[in-house]
């Protein structure tokens, strides 16, 4: 697939926001001491990230003015379900922010955090299933797609939460969120590598023979039927060289996982708060590169029909 920057940005931003929401909600539910101002700032940060993601998702549409129609087919379409759950999460975060000072504790400290965790989880499920339900895109139609959307979101959210706590001097919050950020990043690294290895080794079920029904052992395309490309050649081929793909894969490993882990472990060992911010700043481009790779690595079976210009 040719990664669309709008979708890469949307899923990465929203994933981090969801992880941040889960971090804040678990801290509130677990009674981790933090100032109301820090909680409010964290929720505003999640709100801004979600809205930025929503804005990015609009850039993917050919007809953004009609986006309201996308909630209609929630019975069959995971995209439609995501379109409903994302604004629901944004609304919930806004309500929670309003409730911090004003609402009774049972609402602000129990009901809304629990609801936020549930809806954030639901959004991960919807987002992952948009890709995992396409059975013939075999890189995506597997359980690790869901696992990685959840774990990368949790890892990036907890790293972000820890960086914010370090900046705000919330030592007790950082003491709770820091270890989770380190462990989540480690586990996400392991499951993402498992997915990358699995996908690199796929033997695709569709072949040129099954695509055309011509049963000759040697079968090559001599013309795709047009000379200057079409939607089919623009949308489904990323056109990055194998060397570029290898470099991006290395950048993902270093920036999204290895370097932030080193920074976080150093921060943990030396209690140097700025290193948490360094970890978050390193991880952000790494996660964007990883999501780009997620799309680029997927080989759509339609590509079999578009191999040779003439």
């Amino acid at each position: 697939m040719n990664p669309a920057f709008s979708v890469v940005a949307f899923t990465t931003l929203a994933g981090a926001a969801q992880g941040l929401i889960v971090a804040l909600a678990l801290a509130v539910l677990g009674g981790v001491p933090m100032t109301p101002a820090f909680l409010a700032f964290g929720l505003v940060a999640a709100f801004v990230l979600l809205c930025a993601g929503l804005a990015a998702s609009f850039l993917h549409l050919g007809r953004p003015a009609r986006a309201w129609r996308a909630a209609a087919m929630w019975r069959t379409s995971w995209l439609s379900r995501e379109v409903i759950v994302l604004p629901a999460l944004i609304t919930l975060v806004a309500l929670w922010w309003l409730a911090i000072e004003a609402a009774p504790p049972v609402l602000a400290r129990l009901v809304l955090p629990l609801a936020a965790i549930a809806v954030a989880a639901l959004l991960w499920y919807c987002t992952a299933m948009i890709y995992a339900c396409l059975r013939f895109i075999e890189e995506w139609a597997q359980p690790l797609t869901l696992v990685n959307f959840v774990l990368l979101g949790i890892a990036s959210g907890f790293v972000l939460a820890s960086a914010l706590a370090a900046l705000a001097g919330e030592r007790q919050f950082l003491a709770a969120s820091g270890p989770v950020a380190i462990v989540a990043t480690l586990v996400a690294w392991a499951t993402r590598m498992a997915a990358l290895r699995r996908n690199a080794a796929i033997r695709h079920r569709s072949t040129l023979q099954s695509a055309t029904g011509i049963r000759a052992a040697r079968l090559v395309q001599t013309s795709m039927g047009m000379s200057a490309g079409s939607f089919n050649t623009r949308e489904f081929f990323h056109r990055a060289s194998q060397l570029a793909m290898r470099r991006i894969r290395l950048a993902v490993i270093v920036l999204a996982f290895a370097a932030p882990l080193v920074a976080m472990l150093l921060a943990w060992a030396t209690a140097a708060a700025p290193l948490w911010v360094v970890a978050a700043l390193l991880q952000a481009p790494g996660l964007l590169a990883d999501r780009w790779y997620f799309f680029a690595q997927a080989k759509h079976p339609q590509n079999l029909y578009y191999q040779v210009v003439s």
Binding site: G62, M73, A211, A216, A217, V220, G225
Partner: protein, 248 residues
Amino acid sequence: MIAALKALFGAGDTVAPTPPPPSAAKQLALVIDLNVCVGCHACVTSCKEWNTSGSAGPLTDQNAYGANPTGTFFNRVQTYEAGVFPDTDTVHFPKSCLHCEDPPCVPVCPTGASYKRKADGIVLVDYDKCIGCKYCAWACPYGAREIDEERQVMTKCTLCVDRIYDPLLAPEDRKPACVKACPTGARLFGDVKDPDSEVSRAIRERGGYALMPEWQTSPANQYLPRRITAAAGEDASEARELGTGRAE
């Protein structure tokens, strides 16, 4: 945990979380005869001509007179070479929407713009509802859908739905433009659910097959395999299907 996840993904084997609707009583489709397609692209140009000025149009072009012209087409003719020299065959292969009986592009559409007509099984796009998210194109293993870059809505073969029922046309003209244009009669059109139709007989008697059967989309359009026919006077049992090396 993996087992639980796989159970969670029980629906991962199918695009539609809901069971597929019962097959339509009528299913219009094309049957493409690979024996006689000569790769002239008349079906491509006649399709473009009819549909750019019909209810599905306009099918816009970009850079039409430049070095790299591109545009929206519902139908393409591709060419493949099968076998090893000197026993090679050139196979011309027209490709358009297959109007699957279980179309994976329909349930994924978030707006309901993509739909399959119950009356005749044609898969269509409501251009007024389409938001141009391209998800249906991702969900089609055949690459049968193309977004119109100017109108920014998804487009696809309509089986000339604005032609095949037109009472103003003579009955013999109520066929898709590509079928009418084909100089060799490589394109048959009809109801594949009617066992006595020309298309059903062709599929039955001449080994009609579906593309990418591994994804269980049940394409309505089928293809008739290339056969090496015996020369006049030769033993007819020498006729065989291309690439199989065995007598039929």
